[in-house]
């Protein structure tokens, strides 16, 4: 337990004003971090300060305010590059979130590399946002979509993966951490196996960035996607990391202002990266907030935070096991602090409504992973997802509330 003592959760909780609020007259127990995380005061302040005293459009004005907005916007790009350990700032593309990042790659890289008869490889545990854009690409090009299977614990079968890495495969798209099962995938090894066959890899990092330290150079992935709002930043902003060589070769995703070098009615030449992929006025306020979130995470002891989350996961797994009729869905050996479960004979939606009355916010439904629900033969699950500001006491409140669910059904 020495690892958890190093983590001062009381102090950390004070950074997040919403954690002191109530739901249904009870202290809020927020366990839906997989859907979106709460925001520290520093992020909230950065966004309001930007609108109070820093607002101007970027890359346009010659006046002081526009220059300072541009500096904040580009300054965040440098922070994010360091946060992900990218080689260069220009490998960081601002997008709305992971969904847009994947759509960008599927559309642009897809147009460049994928043709009829080729194959795209995704995994059995992907979020719909890492399935549907590839399906759309497959439909447009006549390529095939293949699926890396998983076992009953919710771990990808690497031997099957290797067999699927045929010369037809043009890209692998796989999640770092499963949003519905909590599985942490062996990304570094999967990238190595793909690269041995000359296949690039996109990693969906929506759940990865909040829980683990991401080093894109160590992973050696070709693309990594991040949603700002899941890593304590604002909604509406996210990041696509891509190796510069790929991004330079890829055609633009959207056309418009800011992404051009010169425009005539006869021909347009495009700006270099990253501007080539950032058409139109971006979410500058959101980017400023994202910068504050990266600063916030950078000031934390992330090793201690990760150890603390593993302790919460262990405690929650054990305590949930004491609830009669409860079954955990997703029992991988290597998991983040995300627990999906079902209660025998009681639908997840009833569970969610009932624990909400105790102030506990959990997610219920299919978590945008319908193929995962089908694999485990459940219509829906309840999901508690913890981060470093949650406590053992909150786990216990959830467990008590779950024990009360059966009483409602007499």
């Amino acid at each position: 337990m020495s690892t958890t003592k190093a983590w001062d959760v009381t102090r950390v909780r004070r950074d997040f004003p919403i954690l002191a609020t109530q739901a249904h007259g009870k202290p809020l127990v927020y366990l839906d971090n997989g859907a979106t995380s709460q925001k520290p005061q520093s992020v909230i302040d950065a966004v309001s300060h930007y609108y109070e005293s820093g607002n101007a459009n970027v890359h346009r004005g010659v006046y002081a305010l526009s220059e300072s907005a541009t500096a904040a916007y580009e300054g965040t790009r440098a922070k994010v590059a360091r946060f992900l350990n990218a080689r260069e700032d220009r490998e960081i593309i601002y997008v709305r979130g992971t969904t847009e990042a994947i759509n960008l790659v599927a559309s642009s890289f897809g147009r460049l590399k994928v043709k009829a008869g080729d194959e795209i490889l995704v995994s059995a545990m992907e979020h719909h946002s890492n399935i549907v854009p590839w399906q759309m690409l497959a439909e447009q090009t006549g390529a095939g979509l293949k699926v890396i299977p998983m076992n009953e614990r919710g771990e990808l079968k690497l031997d099957e993966y290797q067999k699927l890495l045929t010369p037809k495969v043009r890209i692998v798209a796989v999640t770092h951490i499963s949003n519905s099962l909590g599985t942490i995938n062996p990304i570094k090894e999967m990238v190595k196996l793909a690269h041995a066959k000359g296949v690039p890899v996109l990693v969906d990092g929506a759940q990865g960035a909040p829980h683990v330290v991401v080093d894109v150079r160590d992973l050696d992935c070709d693309f990594y996607t991040v949603s700002g709002h899941k890593m304590f930043g604002p909604t509406g902003v996210g990041v696509l990391y891509g190796k510069a060589a790929h991004l330079e070769a890829m055609p633009p995703y959207q056309g418009g202002g800011d992404m051009i070098r010169s425009v005539t009615f006869a021909k347009t030449t495009y700006a270099p990266i990253p501007a080539k992929f950032e058409a139109g006025t971006p979410d500058i306020g959101g980017v400023v907030g994202l910068g504050a979130a990266v600063d916030y995470l950078g000031a934390l002891d992330r090793t201690a935070a990760a150890a603390y989350e593993q302790d919460l996961l262990e405690h929650a797994t054990k305590q949930l096991g004491t609830v009669p009729g409860l079954r955990i869905v997703g029992t991988a050996a290597h998991k983040a602090s995300v627990i999906s479960f079902v209660l025998d004979g009681i639908h997840a939606h009833d569970v969610g409504t009932i624990v909400d009355q105790a102030g506990v916010a959990i997610r219920t439904g299919h978590h945008c992973t319908q193929p995962v629900m089908e694999f485990f033969n459940v219509p829906a699950t309840a999901r508690a997802s913890f981060v470093f500001y949650n406590t053992r006491d909150e786990v216990d409140i959830l467990v008590e509330a779950l024990k009360g669910v059966r009483k409602v059904f007499g």
């Binding site: 249904h24 007259g25 009681i346 639908h347 997840a348 939606h349 009833d350 409504t353 009932i354 009355q357 219920t364 439904g365 299919h366 629900m373 219509p379 829906a380 409602v408 059904f409 007499g410």
Partner: protein, 150 residues
């Protein structure tokens, strides 16, 4: 503050445990599928309408307690009624669970369906209560495209 016992009233709990008319009909004249993609609720509804009267109703499917009890109570409520009367009952039920400005329905009209009066305090669950009724409406309109409450 919303009270759980108003949502999960005894009648609802009982119909969830032992749903009525949870069966497949041999020769239905009308049928429809309904689903609630966000929740994963799904229902398959069959009807036999004969001589302008709903003679038999059966449903199958899976879902939360609210959607299952609602389907069960609905099948009992519309049996023996004309399709037009069943549609009127749907409107009264919908007004009750959706709340809003509509005048509260006469308890005599709704009978046991009044057990769903607590749903209006739980806006996220209104679609669960309405799913079976939307599916009934689709079946009676002979609209055979699957119904979604999203």
């Amino acid at each position: 503050m919303a009270d759980l016992s108003e949502l999960y009233q005894q009648t609802i709990v009982e119909h969830n445990r032992s749903p009525r008319n949870f069966k497949t009909l041999e020769h239905p004249t009308h049928h429809a599928e309904g689903n609630n993609p966000l929740c994963g609720d799904q229902i398959s509804l069959q009807l036999t309408v004969d001589g302008g009267v709903i003679k038999e109703v059966g449903f199958q499917g899976s879902g939360c307690a609210i959607s299952r009890a609602s389907a069960s109570l609905m099948t009992s409520a519309v049996m023996g009624k004309s399709p037009a009367d069943a549609e009127r009952l749907f409107r009264a039920f919908h007004d009750m669970v959706a709340g809003g400005d509509a005048a509260p329905a006469d308890p005599a009209t709704l009978g046991k369906l009044a057990a769903f009066s607590g749903v209006k305090q739980f806006p996220a669950r209104v679609k669960c209560a309405n799913l079976a009724w939307h599916t009934l409406h689709a079946a009676l309109q002979a609209d055979q495209t699957p119904i979604s409450t999203e």
